[in-house]
Symmetry: C2
Subunit: 154 residues, 2 copies
């Protein structure tokens, strides 16, 4: 039985180290680590609404909006009116955005490799699964906090 109290701090340290390193690596290209996550999410799907983009990242819709405003002035993404819902706006990568993302993907390869090397190859799948379970478990907890309904399966 490991010390339960170490887990949150270890998770925090690992994430912050990754975030810092990525920001440093991307600095010469004028892009942040979180902007990279946004570009990556866009690159892996058709045009989607801002809400849907925020849901997939995952990030807060108002945070995503601020990032989109920035990225739009840099010509990396473009926003159009939604074809059937005039409240919503669709977001998509521009050609420059796709190019920039591919470049950043290559630049960040060394970081992904370095992170992966810290794991025994046999443990990698399980490690990622645990991270995912932690996220799901905590996110479910937030929901059940408000309406007190059963998360009995969907």
């Amino acid at each position: 039985m490991a010390d339960k109290s170490e887990l949150p701090l270890a998770l925090r340290s690992a994430y912050l180290a990754m975030h810092r390193t990525t920001d440093t690596q991307f600095a010469p290209y004028g892009v942040t680590a979180d902007q990279f996550v946004l570009l990556a999410t866009l690159s892996r799907g058709d045009a989607m609404t801002q809400r849907e983009l925020a849901r997939r990242m995952p990030s807060d819709p108002s945070t995503v909006r601020a990032m989109l405003v920035l990225l739009e002035t840099q010509g990396l993404i473009e926003r159009d009116v939604h074809p059937s819902d005039s409240r919503a706006r669709t977001v998509a990568l521009t050609a420059a955005g796709k190019r920039k993302f591919r470049q950043l993907w290559n630049v960040s390869e060394s970081i992904r490799t370095k992170m992966f090397e810290a794991i025994q190859p046999d443990d990698a799948v399980e490690f990622i699964r645990i991270l995912t379970r932690i996220a799901e478990s905590l996110n479910d907890a937030i929901l059940s906090e408000s309406n007190r309904t059963q998360a009995n399966e969907v």
Copy 2:
């Protein structure tokens, strides 16, 4: 061999979920998740300089300063001149700070439990070890960055 590209996003999702949940849990007490980390770091050591505190969290010194200014007005911490180094200031928990920390520790027990339950007990030690190795590996990489004047573009 797991998909290397999933690891960074899984780590990010898990951390953000933890951070959000903790902020929500602490909101009624007027304290944030990161302030809790600061208080926890102070509680497990004697009075230390701001620099040392930042190193242990880990966080940026200027970030820590902003947090200290806030926490000082709330009476949770106090800063004094360093006995032998007049540049530095020592930081310590006040009595109210210690009380608040104990309270928050109890409040956050459910989150630690929930996170821990997402891991098979046998895997917990190894999971934490991997997180630590990832952090160390990436932090080392930042340092060796200065030596490598290689800008391999794509």
